[in-house]
């Protein structure tokens, strides 16, 4: 897999949006499934950095992951 193929997939999978199954559970992102092993490792590292950035930008220190989960908990 070339960087030109890999980078857009990593960029997509860094979103906290995930498809839902019939029970509302989070399924794997389609872009994650298309990534190779090195791309998935890179995604893991980028997610750590990106969520740190998001937490630092949020007044409550919450990431988009946290907001997605709280949204489900609050039934919004």
């Amino acid at each position: 897999m070339t960087p030109a193929e890999r980078d857009p997939l990593i960029a997509q999978a860094t979103s906290a949006w995930r498809p839902r199954d019939a029970d509302g559970g989070a399924r794997f992102h389609p872009a994650f499934c298309d990534l190779d092993g090195p791309g998935r490792r890179e995604l893991h590292e980028q997610l750590i950095v990106q969520r740190r950035l998001e937490a630092a930008l949020d007044p409550d220190g919450l990431t988009t992951t946290a907001h997605a989960v709280l949204h489900r908990i609050r039934g919004q």
Binding site: W17, H44, A68, R72
Partner: protein
């Protein structure tokens, strides 16, 4: 440095206080995410993490504190690991080698004031389109896929993704110039 004990939020969480859970989340997310590193090539850590956090919320009323800090976080680490292994068993035959170095640290993390101030300055310096793409992701709070966000901004998906990547790189570069390195290995 004193350990942050997120169990100070436990009693309120057990009463169904979602705001208290949000405060717990702010410190617990990073160690939980890091704990999934050993599974990174096999399972989508973001999906597993979101399911983990929901289960933590569901089982928190049954969590009994012991004499160690961060009991709920330690419970979350077990849930995350079990969910990841469950995914492996259901979907894959491969085996993940867990080494000593993969043992998760139970150390909550919170953004520090220096990072907050620097990133606010750096965000203000972003060009319009990367800034718009980043804001769309953050403000949407994972409600919609990128394709939808791109359409709202009048961008093609690939353009939107390029702007997301560019925003992240520009922020990291700007932070680096301010003496802040966002190393994934660091807290």
């Amino acid at each position: 440095m004193a350990t942050i004990d997120l169990d100070r939020h436990l009693a309120a969480i057990q009463q169904g206080d979602a705001d208290a859970f949000a405060r717990w989340l702010a410190g617990a997310e990073q160690p939980l995410r890091r704990s999934l590193r050993a599974f990174a090539t096999e399972v989508d850590g973001e999906a597993v993490l979101q399911e983990t956090l929901l289960r933590v919320w569901q089982v928190a009323p049954r969590c009994t504190p012991d004499d160690k800090p961060n009991g709920l976080l330690r419970l979350g680490l077990r849930i995350a690991r079990n969910l990841a292994i469950d995914h492996l068993r259901r979907h894959r035959a491969c085996h993940v080698e867990l080494t000593e170095g993969d043992a998760p640290a139970v150390e909550p993390t919170l953004p520090d004031d220096e990072l907050r101030a620097a990133i606010a300055r750096c965000r203000d310096q972003l060009p319009d389109r990367p800034s718009a793409a980043l804001a769309a992701r953050i403000d949407n709070r994972a409600a919609d896929p990128d394709r939808t966000l791109a359409e709202r901004l009048g961008m093609k998906l690939n353009t939107f993704l390029q702007n997301i990547t560019r925003a992240r790189r520009l922020l990291a570069d700007c932070l680096r110039r301010n003496g802040i390195e966002l190393d994934p290995e660091a807290s």
